[in-house]
C-alpha cells in the first residue's frame, strides 16, 4: 500500500505544478506551457522506463550490467512469449493496473510497455 501511494504521488506532482504555472503566467505564455505539458504526456517518463527495465532484468535473469535501452525488444533479450506475458503480469502488479489482452499483444519493446503503463495509470480513476 505504501508503494502504491508513492507511485501515484510521483505521477500527479508534475501535472499539478504545470497547472499552477499556466494559471499564474500571462496569456501570451499560455500556449508554450500547454505544449510543454503535451510533450510530457506523450513520451513515457524516464523513471517509468527505468522501473520497467528493472522488472525485465529480474524476470529474464539478466546480469546487472546488460545495456537496456528503451527500444530493446523482449525477444532480442531472450524472452519467449510466456516470458513476455510474465513480464506484463509483473508490471501489472507493480503499477497496480490491469492490462487487457488486446493491449498486451502489442507490447514488444520496453518503450511500448512504459507508454502503455503511463496511459493506464492516467486513465485509472484517482484513488
Amino acid at each position: 500500500m505504501a508503494s502504491l501511494s508513492a507511485t501515484s504521488l510521483s505521477f500527479k506532482a508534475p501535472s499539478i505544478q504545470s497547472t499552477r504555472i499556466s494559471q499564474s503566467i500571462s496569456f501570451g505564455r499560455f500556449q508554450s506551457s500547454k505544449s510543454l505539458r503535451l510533450q510530457i504526456s506523450c513520451a513515457a517518463k524516464p523513471e517509468t522506463v527505468q522501473k520497467v527495465s528493472d522488472i525485465v532484468k529480474e524476470q529474464l535473469a539478466l546480469s546487472a550490467d546488460t545495456a537496456l535501452t528503451a527500444e530493446s525488444k523482449f525477444s532480442a533479450l531472450g524472452a519467449d512469449s510466456l516470458d513476455t506475458v510474465e513480464i506484463v503480469m509483473a508490471l501489472e502488479e507493480k503499477f497496480n493496473i490491469s492490462v487487457e489482452e488486446a493491449d498486451a499483444q502489442n507490447i514488444t519493446t520496453i518503450q511500448e510497455a512504459a507508454d502503455l503503463i503511463e496511459d493506464l495509470v492516467q486513465k485509472k480513476p484517482a484513488a
Binding site: L4, E58, Q59, S81, L82, D83, V85, E86, M89, A90, E92, E93, N96, I97, S98, E101, K124, A127
Partner: protein, 142 residues
Amino acid sequence: MAAPFTLRKIGVPPNSANLTEARRRVFDFFRAACRSLPTVMDIYNLQDVVAPSQLRFAISAQIRNNAHVTDPKALPLISVSLVIDLLLFKGMEELTDIVDHAKQRHHIIGQYVVGEGLVQNTGSKDQGKSDFLKNFYTSNYV
C-alpha cells in the same frame, strides 16, 4: 487498487480449433492464475514465506514443463491442441481448488514454493532418457 479479480467458473469450453487458439488459452490461463495470486497469498498467509514473483515463476515453470507438447508426429492418434486442452483443464482444476481453499498451506508450500515440489513432478518428460527408450515405441531395430 485495480478491481479485485474473481475466477469465473466457466463449464468445460469447446475444444480449441488449432494451436493458435490453444496458445491463447494457455496465456489466458496464466493471466488468470497470476491475477489470483493476491487472493491466494491472503488465504494461505504466504506473505512472509514467498513473494508473488516467485509464485509467478513457479506457475510459468509448470507451464514450461509441458512446453514440449507441440510436435504432431509424437502423438499420432490425438491432435496436439486436444492434449493442450486437457493439460489446461487440469491446470484450471488445480487453480480452482487452490482459490477455493480446498488445499492447505503445506500443500501450496510443498508444491510451489520449496525446491521442485513433489518428486514425481521433477523434470519434464522424455528429457534425458536414453535413445533406446525414446525409440522404444517406434521400433526395435533403429
